[in-house]
Each structure stands twice: as C-alpha cells, then as structure tokens.
Symmetry: C2
Subunit: 329 residues, 2 copies
C-alpha cells in the first residue's frame, strides 16, 4: 500500500497525496477529502524509511543508560520519553552495561541506526577517551567530565553530597562513613567524595580514610556488603553517606541484618530520590535532584543541536533539594 495506490484510488497524483499527508498548503478542500477517504479505506501508512531516506531525519533520539533495570535510570528514562514525545521525537533506549566499550558502542549504534541525536548517560567513558564524534548531536547526561567538548547536563554531585554530609553533622553525627566506588579519575564517585570532604572540613570535622568504603559496583548487593564491613568495625560509625539510593537500600538492609538501627544507631542518607526512597522502612533521606528538569534540559539540548550543529557546548547542573526523612531524624 503506497502513495501511488492511494493516488490511484483517489484519482489524483501521488504528489497530491503527499501534500495531504504532510498537511501542506495548496490542496483544495474537495480533493483533500477525497484523498483522506482513500487513505482511510486503504489503511495506508507512510513509509518512514522512504521518508527518512529522502529527508535525512528519523525523528528518533537514542537514550543510552548503563541499565534501565535500576530505579534511577528507569525514572530518568521515563522523563526523557515524556519530554521527547512533546517535541515530536521517539526514544530508543540502549543499555551500555556501565562499560566504556558499551558506551562507545552506543554512539556508533546511534549513528548507524541514524538517530537524530543521542543522550548518553556515561559512567565510564571520559575525557581521555578518543571520542571523534563531536560533530554528531550528543548530550552527556550525568556525571562524567568531558572537558566541555559536549553539551552536558550534570548532577549536583559536589553540592548535593556536601549538603547531605553537612546535614548528618548537624544531626549530631561525628564519625561519618562514605559508601562509594574507587577514587580514580573525575566522575560521579570522586565528585561526590569531594562534596563529602568539603562538608567535613567546613564543619570542622577531621577526615578518616578508613571511613571510605569502596563498592564493586552501584548495586544493592554491594551496599549490603559495605554495611557488613561497617558493622565489623571496632569503632562504631554514626552516619553513612551512600553514593546512590540503590546502594543506600542495600546498606539499610545490611545494617538491619546486623542489628544496627537506623537512625538510632546510625543515620543514613542517599542520593537520587528514587521512587522507592520514601517507602523504605525507615524512609530514606536523600539528595533529590530535579529529574524532570534534567530530562527536559537534555532533550532541549539535543533538539537544539540538531537544528544548530555548531553552537558551542553548554554545561548545566541540575537543581536539587534535600529530602529529610526518617533515616536521619
């Protein structure tokens, strides 16, 4: 069922059908009706591939995340789909598996599949990697630092973690652990660690490297494991800053398994404000970045760059607020 078929059915040329389909001016009302009727009867649909081949645009933007099977990225993806939809874009989601190769592949795929642009939530790729695709509309979302080469919508990593840590101090905590990843490079983990250190310094508390608990990955399992190590310590900890809410959920469970009560024995604060945070027992205090704002900004930036390829890269940081809940009361 092609435009030609519809044209024959309506007794017009296929160009007229094209004009009707694309709502172009210059078609008389009676002809338009006849064509619409022919379309309805025949069940005709435009062939997007043919249109794309001609126009060079697919109307699809890619969204590459480490893992949609995680509340945070699921939540973010949901916002991105919304925003993109409002601008007439479809979203294709790609999983990178939190690996630099997966992230590089996502860029290659995105071009191969001819997405109009890509929103990449990179956690491994960084400025040292050889990214030669800076001409293609890519927006970096999240944590990594690319030295200003790409549009970048960042999380309030330092500011947020600093506020979280300061909050723990203000609640009376003095031996505050941080549960996070390794400290190489410039990324989410190190940025958040900086915020932690800054708050301790500002509040006049010393910093004890033994209170840095490293994770194998950003999972609940890893958080649980860190909680075991925390509970094993001789000198108790009275506050924990978890690098994400997902990790915090594992910590919460791990502490419960060791009979440590939150917040009575240990106060705990996370980062992200995932949907489940306020339903945990106890409910989880957390740094709540404005996910809707991030998604909107990212989509706006890709859309904008598709239209204006040479605009200089923009750097943005999402606003946040501290959600104080039971885990730090």
């Amino acid at each position: 069922m092609t435009m030609s078929d519809v044209a024959r059915l309506a007794g017009v040329s296929k160009m007229t059908v094209s004009n009707v389909v694309n709502n172009r001016a210059g078609v008389s009302e009676p002809v338009r009706r006849r064509v619409m009727e022919a379309i309805r009867q025949s069940g005709y649909r435009v062939n997007v591939s043919a249109r794309t081949l001609r126009s060079g645009r697919t109307g699809v933007i890619g969204l590459a995340v480490p893992d949609i099977d995680s509340p945070y990225f699921g939540h973010l993806a949901s916002h991105v789909i919304d925003e993109a939809g409002q601008r007439g874009f479809h979203v294709a989601i790609e999983e990178t598996g939190a690996a630099a190769t997966g992230e590089a592949d996502a860029i290659a795929h995105s071009r191969t599949l001819q997405f109009d642009g890509l929103i990449l939530s990179a956690v491994e790729l960084n400025r040292r990697d050889d990214l030669t695709d800076a001409d293609y509309p890519i927006v970096m979302l999240g944590e990594q630092d690319f030295g200003g080469r790409f549009d970048h919508v960042a999380m309030p990593n330092e500011e947020g973690t600093k506020a979280a840590t300061a909050h723990l101090v203000d609640q009376g905590c003095s031996r505050i652990a941080i549960v996070t990843g390794g400290l190489e490079g410039v990324n989410m983990v190190t940025r958040r660690h900086e915020g932690y250190l800054a708050a301790l310094a500002e509040r006049g508390l010393g910093h004890d490297p033994a209170l840095h608990f490293a994770l194998a990955d950003m999972s609940m399992e890893a958080g649980w494991d860190a909680a075991q190590r925390i509970a094993d310590r001789d000198r108790p900890v009275d506050g924990v800053v978890a690098v994400t809410d997902t990790v915090a959920q594992g910590v919460l469970r791990g502490l419960a398994d060791r009979g440590l009560r939150v917040p009575d024995d240990v106060r705990l604060i996370g980062f992200d404000d995932i949907p489940g945070a306020k339903f945990m027992v106890p409910s989880l205090s957390t740094v709540a970045p404005d996910h809707g704002w991030m998604a909107a900004k990212a989509v706006e930036l890709v859309a904008d760059r598709i239209h204006t390829p040479l605009r200089p890269a923009g750097q943005y940081v999402a606003p946040f607020k501290l959600e104080i809940r039971e885990s730090t009361r």
Copy 2:
C-alpha cells in the same frame, strides 16, 4: 559517504561493496581486503533507511510497557533487550501509561515506525477491543486475555497467587486480605483474585468480601493507602496478599506507619520478585516468575512470527517459584 564513494575508492562496483558489507559469499579475498580498507579510511556507515526501504525490515522490535519507571517493567525490559540483542534485534521502548488508548497507539506507532514486530505488555486492552492488526507480529506479554488471537506469554497469575495465599494459611493466617484492583473483566487482577479464592477454598477457609481492598492504581502510594484502611478495621487482619511487589512495598510502609509489625502482627506476600524485594525491611516474600524465561519466550515468538506469519497463536505461562523471606516467617 555512500557505497558508491567507497566503491570508487576501492576501484570496484558498489554491488561488491554491498556484498562485503553484508558478509556475503562470492567475494575474493584480495577484493574484500581492498574494500574493507576503503571503508575504514572513509569512515563509511551503511544507511539503514535505504537498506530498510529496500529490504522491508528494520531490525527493530518495539516493546510497549505501561511504565518503565517501575521496577517490574524495568527489569523485564532489561531482559527483553538482552534477548533481542542476541538475535540481532534492537529494541525501541514505548510507554503506554497503562491506558487502552496508549496501548492501541503503541500498535499504530509500531507499524508506522516499521518495527519488525511488537511485544506489548497490555494491562487495559482486552479481547473486546477492536484489534484489527492481528496480521502484524504482536506478542502479548503479561496479563490480559485475548482469547487466543495473539501469541501470549502469561504470568502464572492464578497458580502463583494460589500458592502465595496457601503459604500464608500454612503459616497460620486465617484472616487474609487481598490488596488489588477492581474485579471487572479478565485480567491480571481478576486472575490473581481467582487464585486467592482457590487457595482459601482448598484450605477450607471462608471468603470475606470485606477483605478485598481495591486500589486506584498499581503504585506504592495506593498500597500505602490500602494499608491505612486495613489498619482502620475493627477486626484485625493477619495476612495480606498484595497484587504486586510495588504495591506490597507501599503496604509495608503503610503498616509500619500504623505500628503494625510484619510478620509478627501481619504477614505480607507480593508478586513479581522485583530486585528490591529481598532488600526491603523486612525482606518481602513473593511469587517469583521467571522473568528471563518470559523475555526469551516473547522475543522468540516475535522473531518466529516475523519469519512465519501464519503460524497459529501460541499460549504460554511462565514458571514461577515462591520466594519465602522475612515478611511471612
């Protein structure tokens, strides 16, 4: 940068380039090397739209879910992406918003965007709806009943809920509430309710309609709300079957807010085994369907139907097991 350019660079015809790109037999080794080198130098990529226009296949399958911002569908989507990737398909995710219109739109979109097939996790569309697209490869995933018109990979709704309810009885519960949706039609809610009734009957317990707590939607908020109504009752409840783990999480939190202890005062069991279930406090007992199996089956069915359009529709039910955790100990 097109095939013709590469062909000129390599001193061959574009057909030969096509043959190399598609790993087709019948290209001599020296020519193949020359072409590969030309591709490398020029940074050529195939134009997927052109290929699609010619071949009629996009290599993309759509996955329509109510909401990826939910642990269950995020988890499922992750599995589907994996499985599809292994078969050389890309996945485009669409959100339906748990509405019949959204679900119908997803089908239309899927065809317009020329996906090779669609996996539709329908929660509202049902057999009475006018679905004229049965010729296009659609696999229904989940709950709704379509009277055998589509390939269907179902959850073990009745069997699972029956086992869950029986387990509560075996743990000594006698006044068991069910927290779920309204009881119209044949869908996840009613199927699971049937399982609940079947277990009560089998165990010789009466059924009290007052113990049916209806939800506005399948959210944690709604679960929390149901828990308030449960706590408000004069005659206490000693067991709760929640229609999903997400709802159960809300119930758990709602009971905690009312000072009811799980499992001491009330035992609670969910459905789905979302990633967070075993990290809740207390950890959540649940019906654990084999998500990997479901995803694999669904992808297999679409792939198969793309190849064999006229095969009769198949009906499958996912295997499950009961995960017994603290909430029902």
